[in-house]
């Protein structure tokens, strides 16, 4: 135990190690953030196509979305990452962070699409009918009635997806990228530290703290959105 604490002190008093951890942490955050952004936008588009009313123009887009979601959810993330790195973006000098963001973004889109689709479908049909009976347009019904209620249902699952992506980005270390996970391994294998347990323990704390913060924010948002569920008056 003494050894553990002395190593811990050593880690936090060596600028090089701190730089490595922060550098890795920054990459993890960058990849997660931009991947989630792509996932949210693309996932929303897929969900909208999927829940749109059936018509002859929607047959092909709906089919494409189904196949896309099927493939992404049916294959391992690590394999998708490899395909991006060693097949699709196997271009010399292409920035690996972009490749990673695209790989995780495309993956997350499929899961987000399912979450958003479920959220939209969970809104009671009577809500749409109320809008229709009042002569409102489909766009107004979606924007003013369906979307706000769907978002409320989506937020908890979306928080889950954010957490999943943040942790899953750790596999970029498999293609040699220097994320938080890789930084821990790198520091641990260095001659000076000669301990895996300490840097890995610290990396775990970084992940935990970040996820705790995300959970906290999501809960706050959720609470705000549940305002209209309260049976009491303002």
């Amino acid at each position: 135990m003494d050894n553990f604490f002395s190593k811990l002190v050593e880690l936090f008093s060596t600028q090089e190690y701190i730089d490595s951890l922060l550098h890795g942490f920054l990459l993890t955050i960058q990849v997660s953030y931009f991947a989630l952004l792509i996932g949210l936008v693309l996932g929303t588009v897929i969900a909208l196509v999927d829940t749109a009313r059936r018509s002859k123009w929607m047959v092909l887009p709906k089919f494409i979305c189904r196949v896309y979601v099927g493939i992404i959810r049916g294959t391992p993330m690590a394999l998708q990452l490899f395909i991006m790195f060693f097949v699709i973006f196997a271009i010399k000098g292409f920035p690996s962070i972009i490749t990673a963001i695209i790989a995780f973004g495309l993956n997350s889109a499929a899961y987000m699409a399912e979450v958003i689709r479920g959220g939209i479908l969970s809104v009671d049909k009577g809500q749409t009918e109320a809008g229709l009976a009042l002569g409102l347009s489909n766009l107004t019904i979606f924007m003013k009635i369906v979307a706000p209620q769907a978002i409320k249902n989506i937020i908890p699952a979306l928080g889950n997806e954010i957490i999943t992506v943040l942790k899953e980005t750790a596999i970029v270390s498999m293609v040699g990228m220097y994320d938080l996970n890789m930084a821990a391994k790198d520091i641990g294998s260095g001659q000076n530290m000669a301990s895996y347990i300490v840097p890995m323990f610290v990396a775990a704390l970084f992940y935990l703290a970040t996820i705790y913060l995300i959970t906290f924010i999501v809960k706050r948002i959720e609470k705000g959105l549940r305002r209209s569920d309260l049976r009491t008056e303002e």
């Binding site: 009577g126 409102l136 008056e233």
Partner: protein, 244 residues
């Protein structure tokens, strides 16, 4: 526009859900100021009939003509503004306050300014005794309160007629009374009304005409006096024996 005092004409209306034929050719006319009560056993297609009129369900075939204009997918939105609908489960919009529920459509459809709509909404809320609920969300209202708000929401658009789809079926007895007296009041003011209900005494009292549906067809219609006291068909006699 050949016949100006007929608001609504329905010719050979049919509706199937897949293989399930619910409406089998309904012919019907509704004239301004009429109050038509639609009766029938469960599964006879009463609600579907009502819901086809404003295309909550798209008819499989047949014609619906409103004020001389044939209802199609293109003009349905305009038609719906003139045909208010009140649902069994109220369908107040959960994420909007009572006031927002009332003003959303008139403001969005540019029929009233926000200020005018809020003023009108407040008048109506005062009328039903719920001005204090203007800022409340539907979740904090009782069933009867929700339904009365739903009725004045339909009134906000000044419709030519109101369609009621079992408006009291989901309510407790006391709330039923409140909702029925609001409907009665609209009737007394000359509102054209079509109502699907199981409240027989109310039907008798309010109706100018009773329509009886069985297996997706109108098998008997007449004034409440004729219908309840001198039913013509065996099916209606049997029905009345059970419900009265």
């Amino acid at each position: 526009m050949e016949n100006t005092n007929t608001d609504l004409k329905i010719r050979n209306l049919k509706k199937s859900f897949g293989k399930n034929k619910v409406l089998n050719g309904i012919n019907f006319e509704l004239t301004e100021g009429e109050r038509v009560v639609v009766l029938g056993p469960s599964g006879s297609g009463k609600s579907t009939f009502l819901r086809c009129i404003n295309w909550m369900e798209e008819p499989t075939s047949g014609e619906i003509i409103m004020d001389g204009e044939r209802v199609t997918a293109k003009n349905i939105r305009k038609i719906r503004r003139n045909l208010g609908m009140v649902f069994q489960h109220f369908n107040l919009i959960n994420n909007l306050t009572v006031m927002e529920n009332l003003t959303l459509a008139p403001v969005k459809l540019h029929l009233m300014s926000r200020v005018a709509a809020e003023k009108r909404a407040m008048e109506l809320l005062r009328h039903i005794g719920l001005p204090a609920k203007a800022g409340a969300y539907p979740a904090s209202l009782s069933g009867g309160q929700k339904q009365r708000v739903a009725i004045i929401r339909a009134m906000m658009l000044n419709p030519e007629a109101l369609l009621f789809d079992e408006p009291t079926s989901a309510l407790d007895p006391e709330s039923i009374g409140d909702v029925l007296s609001l409907i009665r009041e609209l009737a007394e003011r000359g509102m054209t009304i079509m109502i699907v209900t199981h409240e027989m005494s109310f039907a008798k009292e309010i109706a100018t005409r009773v329509v009886f549906l069985d297996k997706g067809k109108i098998i008997e219609e007449g004034t409440p006096e004729e219908f309840f006291n001198h039913p013509k068909t065996e099916r209606v006699k049997e029905f009345l024996k059970k419900v009265l």
